[in-house]
Structures are given as structure tokens and as C-alpha cells.
Symmetry: C2
Subunit: 320 residues, 2 copies
């Protein structure tokens, strides 16, 4: 939940006057997103989301993110679309921060995904990959294999505070993944953060995707591995093979995985688990004592990592 | 800003099904209110606010608050109106807390009030007092003169940590106010928290009031004194007599103050300053070290208190 920046009414009115949206009717900070400040904005023209990009977002990446949303929407994917100001620009400045207005997307995220949700996430992920194919900007994935060791180094000395032996386990894991990370699988624009928070449903039907602020160019099958970790484990830590099978089948109905991609899935899922483990570990160790915002427990992803490391057959993911 | 409670999609859908509002379209936590969890709810029927009442609100007071909103709206005051469930009840239960859905009010609060805003606040406060006159529930003001000493006792030993000498100054102030607090002024339902956050404007025109969760029965002129403190001081701590004159004139256009009420204004304003000083002092001393939510500085209200204590003539408030 996030409103990090206070916006005065005068500043806001001046900002909105730069758009063809009529006058302001309502403005409320919303508890959504962890990197940026988000506001629900109503004007005479309708309902929008105003985002102020806080310092964790690299300003140089914003044309990629906003351009991608535009591109995806033009391809028919349901996602927020940046609104252009009268100047023609989608990216503005408000309260001394980069700021953008995007269209409001109806729908709600699910807290406890069921099999039918996983099927639809597989399908929409393949649609996303297809829609991103001819997007002409690129962004490197700073959180892919080459970024993990520097990230680990920030937490390495204190890793055992979270779990005795964690430091050694992560070092071995990094060695293994760096040695055999696949280099020749199909690449493209990936979402890289398609957690349940970022997928909207209306009733039982998937209605759209949000939050493209981790999108980047990387292995397409790695994106599917991220989704398997995010959607297919139960709260009791058990892997739900029925959900994984549904998700992979949904994906393959739209974009069949190559044999090499299928065989790489256990490794990609291990790597994805390590990536989220490392960022959560860092956040966990960085939180000030007494803080009201409790970071997510990194160990959730350690158990996922161990599951994938122990997999001996693709049948574990329901892949024939 | 406030979302203290997580609501699952299943619980929410079941709750909304108890109302004649159609199906859910969107649900977002909003950063508004400090006592409760508030969500923006869109259904096929329109846009609403869902409030979950957290433990700082006494459940026994909720029929008063919700009934008051209903009563005020029926009298033509623009404020959120509780939506009744199919059962006929406005108060329900969600995520193990009392919960209510109210109508959505357009408008925005101002951060830097101008004179014209103060005029309108004076007017609407008198309208509020008139509309509340025949409301048949009552609620004692726990934060009026008899409640201040017990509240002070919670912070007394540590008051000097905030400012050396504060403990003695507050003790003298309590003695003085308890001795001469007026007992025979007109009473009725007061808002008791009509800060800029709780007044909405559309363009330059006041469009409505929100947040009735401090409303209670008390001296009507005390409510005006609360507004004078909340609206008529500048960020540099200077009292703006033009704003106060505008506010009192706005109020008196709708409900003339008696001579006794006018003469009591400096004392009521002192008391109101003490009341907010004491709650802020308590919050200030109770916040855990390192917390991300920084409470409001209690000393703002000490300077206001001192101003009113030093007033020698009603002309200081622009009252003829």
C-alpha cells in the first residue's frame, strides 16, 4: 500500500489542466503498489489512476514502461493505457516527481487463486508475450541471473539471521544456477511480476493486467516460471500440480513451448524462486525496527526453491 | 492513510451480495481516515465507500454515527449516506469487524484554505447544527472538558520530553479551563472534527462533509471554536483574523451566536486547542521508534492555545 508523496490541490489542479480531461471531481490516495504513489483521480471525463514515480523507479525506464502499456493496449491486451497531455506527452512532472495518468481498469485481484484462474493466467501470459513481440524499446532485466550475486552480496553476512545455514545454501544455489542457466531459449518482453495482485478478474473471467514496472527483455519461459511460483503453491507450502498443469496448458494453447523450454522449466522455476527470495531477503534485513510495514517473509521462496531443486521429472509440473 | 484489515475476495463478494448493488466491479483500499479501514467499492450500481471499523471505534457508537449521516442527508446536508442491506440494516460485519457501505461523495479537500473556504465552512457548520437539532440519539463527548485530565494523566510524566515546562503549563491550563468552562450555552449535535480533510469542495464551492466519527452532543459554539483552530492559522503559526471573521460571519448568517456564546469564544478556542494538543501528545509519545507513520506534532496546538489565552478582546476574532 502506498502513498509516499503529498500532492497539494493547487499543484494537482494545474497538472490536470494540462490534459483534456475536464475539471477534477475527486482525488484519493490508494493502497496499491509498493514502489510508487498511486491516486484515484476522477474528472468530468471519467476515472483514472495517477501515479507518481518514487525513487526506486529509474526515470530512464519510464518511456519503456509507458510505451509498453500503449503498445499492449493497441494490440488488444486489456491493461491501463497512458493518457497523453495536451503537449502530446504521456510522462509529466508533479510534486517534483515523474508522473503519469493512466486509464482505470475494472476488476479485482483474487486472494486464493483456483485452477480456472491459473488457466487464464497461462493464456494471458502467452497473449502478453505475443503482443510484446514487435515492441521496439528494450530494457535489460537487472534481476536476472547476472544480477543475483550482487544482490546476494548485500544480504550475505546476515543471511543466517533469517535461517541458520541459509548463506551456504544460497551460495551453492547461485553457483549451480550461474553454471547452467539456459542462454538459447526464445526471448522477448516479459512481465516479470505477474503475481495475483497484478491480475484482475470480473467474476470468474480475467479482465486485465496491471503494474508493468518490472517488465523487461528476458527468456519467455522464465516469465511462466515466475507465474508458476506465484500462483501454484498453496498456503501450506504444497505445490499444486493441478494448477501448474492448468497454467502451462493455458499458455501452450496460445504459444506452444519448445522441447528445450519445457526441459528448462525446473531450472527456470528455481531461478525465479531465488530471485524473489533474494529481494525479499534484502527487504527483510533492511526494515527498520518497529516499522509498521512488515516485509514479506523470504523463506516462502526458499521452500519453493527447494521444491524445484528436488524435481526429477517434468511430470511434476504436469508437462507431458 | 489507512487500510488496517485485509479482506478476501470471497468474504467481500458474500458481503456485497447482501445488498441490492449488483456485482462487484472494483475494490481498492484508500488512504483516508486514521481510525478505520476504508475501501473504494464499485459495483454495477455505482461507486461507494466501504468502511471497516477498527478497534479505536466503540461499536456501541456506530448506530449514532450511521443514524446521524442518514438524518443529516434527509435534512439536505450533503454527506455520505449509509446504504441499507437487503436485511434493512446499515451496519453489517466483514472480516470480523463491524462494517458499513456509504454513498460516494464527489469533491476534494483543500490543503491551503483561503478566506472563501472559511466563509463556506462557517455556513455549513451552522447548517449542520440546524440539521442535527431533531436527531433523537445522543452521544456524550468523551473528549470534552471532563475527559481532558484523564487524557493528560496518560502523558503527564513524559510531557516535558516534548517541550521542557510543558507539564506545568498544561496543568495550569487544565485548572483554569475546568474552573471556568461554560455550562449554560446552547448545545446540540456537533461534528467535533471538521478539519480541512473532512470538507470537500468542487472547484471553489463546498460540496459536502465527511467523517462523522467524532460527532457528539456538546456546546454548539465549541464546534465553531474547533473550526477556527483548524482553518484560521497559517503554516507560519500566525492567526489569520480575516479568515476567522469570514468563518464567524458565515456561521452567524445562518445561526446568530448569542452574546454569551460570542464572549465564550476565546475560552472555547483555548479548550479546543487543549483537546487536540492532548490527543496529539498522547499519540506522539505512544508511537513506536522507527515507525513509518509520523504522528502530528502536538506543539502546533500549544501555540494555538497560547494565542487564545492571550486574547484580550473579541475583536481578535473579528467579532464586532
Amino acid at each position: 500500500m502506498a502513498v509516499y508523496t503529498d500532492v497539494s490541490d493547487e499543484e494537482l489542479a494545474a497538472f490536470v489542466a494540462g490534459y483534456d480531461l475536464g475539471t477534477l471531481v475527486s482525488f484519493k490516495g490508494i493502497a496499491e503498489g509498493v514502489e510508487n504513489s498511486n491516486f484515484l483521480l476522477r474528472t468530468q471525463a471519467g476515472q483514472y489512476i495517477l501515479t507518481l514515480y518514487e525513487k526506486r523507479v529509474n526515470e530512464g525506464d519510464l518511456p519503456f514502461f509507458l510505451g509498453l502499456m500503449d503498445h499492449l493496449a493497441a494490440k488488444g491486451l486489456n491493461c491501463p493505457t497512458p493518457v497523453k497531455a495536451k503537449s502530446g506527452e504521456a510522462l509529466g512532472r508533479l510534486a517534483d516527481r515523474p508522473a503519469a495518468i493512466v486509464t482505470f481498469l475494472d476488476g479485482m485481484s483474487v486472494r486464493r487463486p483456483r485452477v480456472s484462474h491459473c488457466t487464464q493466467v497461462g493464456e494471458v501470459l502467452a497473449d502478453f508475450h505475443a503482443a510484446g513481440r514487435d515492441f521496439d524499446l528494450t530494457r535489460e532485466n537487472a534481476l536476472s541471473v547476472s544480477g543475483w550475486r550482487p544482490l546476494f552480496d548485500l544480504s550475505r553476512e546476515r543471511a543466517d539471521e533469517v535461517l541458520p545455514g541459509l548463506r551456504n545454501e544460497l551460495e551453492r544455489e547461485l553457483d549451480a544456477l550461474e553454471a547452467c542457466w539456459p542462454r538459447d531459449l526464445p526471448t522477448g518482453v516479459i512481465h516479470a511480476d505477474l503475481f495475483p495482485d497484478n491480475v484482475f478478474f470480473l467474476g470468474e473471467t480475467l479482465s486485465g493486467l496491471i503494474d508493468f514496472y518490472f517488465a523487461c527483455n528476458d527468456l519467455l519461459a522464465y516469465d511462466l516460471a515466475i507465474c508458476i511460483n506465484a500462483w501454484c503453491f498453496e498456503p501450506d507450502r504444497q505445490f499444486n500440480v493441478t494448477k501448474a498443469r492448468a497454467m502451462v496448458a493455458g499458455y501452450q494453447r496460445r504459444r506452444p513451448l519448445s522441447k528445450a523450454e519445457q526441459e528448462a522449466l525446473p531450472l527456470l522455476a528455481r531461478g525465479s524462486a531465488l530471485r524473489f527470495l533474494l529481494t525479499r531477503l534484502y527487504d527483510w534485513l533492511s526494515v527498520p525496527p518497529g516499522a509498521l510495514v512488515v516485509p514479506k517473509n523470504p523463506l516462502e521462496y526458499l521452500y519453493k526453491l527447494r521444491f524445484h531443486r528436488d524435481v526429477t521429472s517434468l511430470a511434476a509440473y504436469g508437462v507431458a
